[in-house]
Symmetry: C2
Subunit: 92 residues, 2 copies
DNA sequence: TCAGTATATGCGTTATCGCTCATATGTGAG
DNA sequence: CTCACATATGAGCGATAACGCATATACTGA
């Protein structure tokens, strides 16, 4: 029961196109918010909004560096799982 | 771009707790809607509603047998992917 | 044909979500 | 301290999603 809820909220966070773009924009590196904004073309407010969701679900973490905040994907295995799903969705 | 949209809508369908319950209720077998209703405790209307979403995303398929409709998960690999995610979400 | 069972669908309501606007907080430069 | 830049947050709006209710369709058996 509680497993289901956790899994569903994980999928919910991943179900947003812009959040997926943000995740792939980060990739394996740690990048400042401004880089993600430039990459995705989304508004600053919007990127910040989505990064919060990703942070709350612990999919990314933010590290302060001067006036910048560098965000990175918490666990690289997430990218692998995303690829698995992408490949699976592509077939048929 | 289009990849992202497809992936996100796949996750969107999976982001509903009741739909996850329905999927795990089906498992590897083909079961009539009434069995899923009994299993999940959801209303008939609600189960039908969710099964439609799963059908539209081609995650399940329904086969008529008399006055029953047996639903099955289209590709067993989906269950495997779900387990991968569940295990991944459990750690940490 | 009629009654009963199994499933699907349209409508209306409520809740949730993504987004933006305005504003706040924090940091480095001068 | 003040200004500019980088990021975060709260309020409000419009779109979308889930759910229940009522009803429709489809099949079965008497």
């Amino acid at each position: 029961m509680e497993q289901v809820k956790k899994l569903s909220s994980l999928f919910k966070v991943l179900s947003e196109p812009n959040r997926l773009r943000i995740l792939t924009s980060l990739g394996l590196e740690c990048r400042p918010v401004s880089a993600v904004i430039a990459d995705t073309g989304l508004s600053q407010t919007n990127v910040s909004f989505h990064l919060r969701k990703l942070r709350e679900m612990k999919l990314v973490r933010g590290e302060k560096n001067g006036s910048f905040v560098f965000y990175c994907i918490s666990d690289p295995e997430l990218l692998e799982l995303l690829n698995r799903f992408r490949e699976w969705g592509a077939k048929s």
